[in-house]
């Protein structure tokens, strides 16, 4: 655990006093201290291209009155810096009053260990794995023209101090191992990318030479794409594979169910609570409590323990994801979804691990039912326009379906759909729910946070595929 006051003129008592004094007339607020240590080691073009270590320390001080948020952050942990921030907050909230300051529920659950993954594997050992990856791939296939492999690891220690001296702490490990490979054959180049990660040590993910499986998967995706032909353009049926394709759920539905957009009535879902927004059989949850997953948190960045929040149950909209601010203004409770990228950013309601639960059909049945459509196995990034509800995502591995059979692979195409209506087009839900491999980062208002997704195979009756072949 970090001692944030060790090297400063600040004592714990000073902090308590300044926080309590600044927030005495406010509805909510806290001071958030963060100490993060991170590394990234990159092999590229046959060489160790960079080895970087970062240490970041700072605080963010937040005061809230009604729906007005004042925030100030600094890297200097000192009495002066804290007092300056306090003055800045008071100047914004000079004529406003509040009394809420709702208590934080307690938890004894922990979803990961207090480890520092960076220290748990030597640099030499990490370099060795990266070199093995490079040699393995280049030896394996002569069409391999470029290999990039990387380790990134982080330990983030946080402490939240609230008015009255209540303190909450968390230590969060996070790692990711990534391999990207580019193939060239007959003048054509294609890439394949695969990664794994979560909130454990590197070696928990690399047991039994698991790096080889990561290499194989990246290589497989690139090889498939080398043989891909132009994607079709127009509306058709789409079968999504299990696991990572659930970023469709994340983009199409997830963002629209975040509390802030609904309080502000800018989400296409804001007036649909209790209504049918998906086909029967579709249940979607957002779960921060899955052991050691990338999107899991013991407590959120306001100190609220995370939970498993049911968003849509059997097609009916049940809950939004809430942080303290939006929960208070919407007369409900926080779902432990208040997150921030780091101390430089304000808290927003965000997703954790967003999952569509299994149904009882098989992927085979879905493919067989399609005359003309596509089968999408993996995706790159996605994006959504919350207001109009339109969302897109980009296929990185997809195939044609003709007369109930999987055909040729097709080039990366964008799929576009309408969030509020897409889940009503889901006509089959598979029995094969799978988590993603632990690689997702969600962006909102310029802040990136680690998230997870999961889903079974699903059949969507109508979606627009943005290929070039008419």
């Amino acid at each position: 655990m970090s001692n944030f006051f060790e090297k400063s003129d600040l004592t714990r008592k000073d902090v308590d006093e300044i926080v309590s004094e600044t927030l005495k007339n406010c509805d909510d607020g806290e001071i958030y201290f963060e100490n993060s240590k991170s590394e990234s080691i990159l092999l590229d073009d046959n060489k160790i291209k960079s080895s970087n270590y970062n240490s970041d320390l700072g605080f963010g001080f937040r005061a809230i009155s009604n729906d007005v948020v004042a925030y100030s952050h600094s890297n200097e942990i000192s009495k002066d810096a804290l007092k300056n921030s306090a003055e800045n907050l008071k100047s914004t909230l000079k004529s406003i009053k509040g009394t809420y300051n709702h208590e934080i529920p307690k938890t004894n659950n922990k979803f990961y260990d207090d480890i520092n993954p960076i220290e748990q594997k030597t640099l030499d050992a990490k370099l060795e794995v990266l070199n093995k990856v490079n040699n393995y791939l280049r030896k394996k296939d002569s069409t391999v023209k470029q290999v990039t492999a990387s380790f990134s690891g982080e330990q983030k220690s946080i402490e939240i101090i609230r008015s009255g001296g209540e303190a909450l702490t968390d230590v969060r490990p996070l790692i990711r191992f990534n391999v990207s490979v580019m193939l060239e054959k007959n003048g054509r180049k294609e890439t394949g990318v695969y990664g794994i990660g979560g909130r454990q040590s590197y070696d928990d993910y690399l047991k039994n030479d698991n790096w080889k499986n990561v290499c194989e998967e990246a290589l497989r995706i690139a090889s498939v794409n080398l043989d891909s032909k132009p994607a079709p353009a127009g509306e058709m049926k789409v079968v999504l594979g299990p696991g990572w394709p659930a970023i469709l759920i994340h983009e199409a539905i997830g963002h629209g169910l975040e509390g802030d957009f609904n309080r502000k009535k800018t989400s296409a879902f804001h007036d649909l609570m209790g209504q049918k927004v998906a086909s029967e059989g579709v249940t979607i949850v957002d779960d921060g409590t899955i052991d050691k997953r990338r999107g899991s948190l013991t407590i959120d960045d306001e100190g609220t323990p995370t939970e498993r929040t049911v968003l849509i149950e059997n097609g009916i909209l049940k809950n939004f994801m809430q942080d303290r601010l939006n929960a208070r203004l919407m007369n409900t409770r926080s779902t432990g979804s208040g997150r921030r990228e780091n101390y430089k950013h304000i808290v927003l309601p965000r997703m954790r691990n967003t999952m569509m639960l299994s149904g009882n059909q098989t992927q085979d049945e879905m493919i067989k039912s399609v005359d003309k459509g596509i089968f999408a196995v993996s995706f790159g990034g996605g994006q959504v326009d919350i207001t109009s509800g339109k969302f897109v995502f980009n296929c990185t591995e997809a195939y044609e379906i003709n007369n109930g059979k999987i055909g040729s692979p097709i080039k990366g195409a964008t799929l576009i759909g309408d969030g509020p209506s897409i889940l009503k087009e889901v006509s089959m839900v598979g029995n094969d729910m799978m988590m993603d491999p632990g690689i997702g980062t969600c962006g909102k208002a310029g802040q990136g946070v680690p998230v997870g997704v999961a889903q079974p195979s699903i059949l969507i009756d109508k979606m627009t595929v943005g290929g070039t072949k008419l």
Binding site: K7, K47, I48, K49, S50, S51, N52, Y53, N54, S55, D56, L57, D67, V68, V69, Y71, S72, H73, S74, N75, A81, L123, D124, L127, Q146, E184, R188, K189, E190, T191, A231, A233, G234, E235, K264, K265, T266, A268, K344, I346, G381, G382, Q383, D385, T387, S388, K390, V392, N394, K411, A413, T414, L415, I416, G417, T464, G466, G467, T468, L470
Partner: protein, 438 residues
Amino acid sequence: MIKDQEYLKSKASYCLDLAKKLGATDASVTVGNSISETVSFRNKVLDESNRSDSLAISIETYIDKKKSSISSSNLLTDNLKTLIEKCFETTKITPEDEFNSLPDKELLAKNIKDLNLYDQSHLENDKKIDYLKELEETASIDNKIVNTESGFTENKSNFILANSDGFCNGYKSSSFTASCVTVAKNENSMERDYEFTSKCHLSDISNPLELGKVAAEQTIKKLSPKKIGSDKISIIFDKRISKGFLSSFAGAISASSIARGTSFLKDKVNQQIFSNSVNITDKPDLIKGMGSKCFDSEGVKTETLNLVKSGILNDYLVDTYNGKKLNLKSNGRSGGSTNLYFENGKISYRDLLKSHSKILYVTETIGHGTNLVTGDYSVGATGFLVEDGEFKYPVNEITIAGNFNEMFKKITLANDLEFKYSVNSPTMMIDGMTVAGK
């Protein structure tokens, strides 16, 4: 107050001295401080204030051809000491890379021009609030506007870049940014659009009335969109979208993509890659330019580059490391392009709209559908259908797709270039792209 040059210099020289003392053969340090103050409004009342004071230091140490780096936000001496020691130890066990080095001494910037990038004006939060009040009052006049959000950010930064070859320079810069996002609603749909202004100098930013008015008008125009059928069609890209093609182009000609062989523009220097009416310039010394730089992130001097002349690619964006790999000298583009723009075309905006009987006019794209390895492009789009030069109706939930190799050769540019951002383009038309819709 923002940290002054003397403070930053003292931190930088402490780090360089310590690295040398430990045994580093070379080292370079960047130290920066930036303070920004933002006020946000929502539906005509104060929503948020945010003050940010950020320090950052990054250090690279070399032992001959071995290199490693660290970065931190904690500038306390004993933290810096620990980190530099760690960095040096890591460098020792990092494998050699023959291309690692500081930039060539003769390429380092010597004369630092004053490009007028810093305005010391300070706008008190109360004044920012007045600006946003006016802005949102204007934005919400029409009752179809159901939500307004706006923000005003003032940012001041200062930095020093120093290396063990004696380079030690830096300068202050500032920016003032105001933005407005509006949501409009009618019985058919709810739509969002925006407008913003960002300048180095406070006196140059747009009038709040203008900003609010434009945002509202653009949003209302998008109401009741239709989906069009799949088709091959000519597409006009609004200025705020056409500049994105330049950013992709800059990524594809960065020496790192070229050296790695992961760019569709590899080996294309001296070849025709755009239609012959297209010229692309990267100009670092634009007075008050949003992308202006006196030197690049390694201290190398920057000069204007005519990247594309009459459609022919002349140059890559070269930094020291990748330059050495490609046998090219750095042209001061470590960290990317500066003020990058398409030069004006010959046709007016009006005439461009009338150039075909049916045109899709794109005002927004979503998704990350740009593949710089293959040049394949596929994104979601919203915009308008234009017939015989007239805007007919808004369009959404469609995708547009093509491949840059072909798209670049079919570009026609209007003559309406403005310098609003660091990357700028006139309105652009590309013939014969695929639209996927109904």
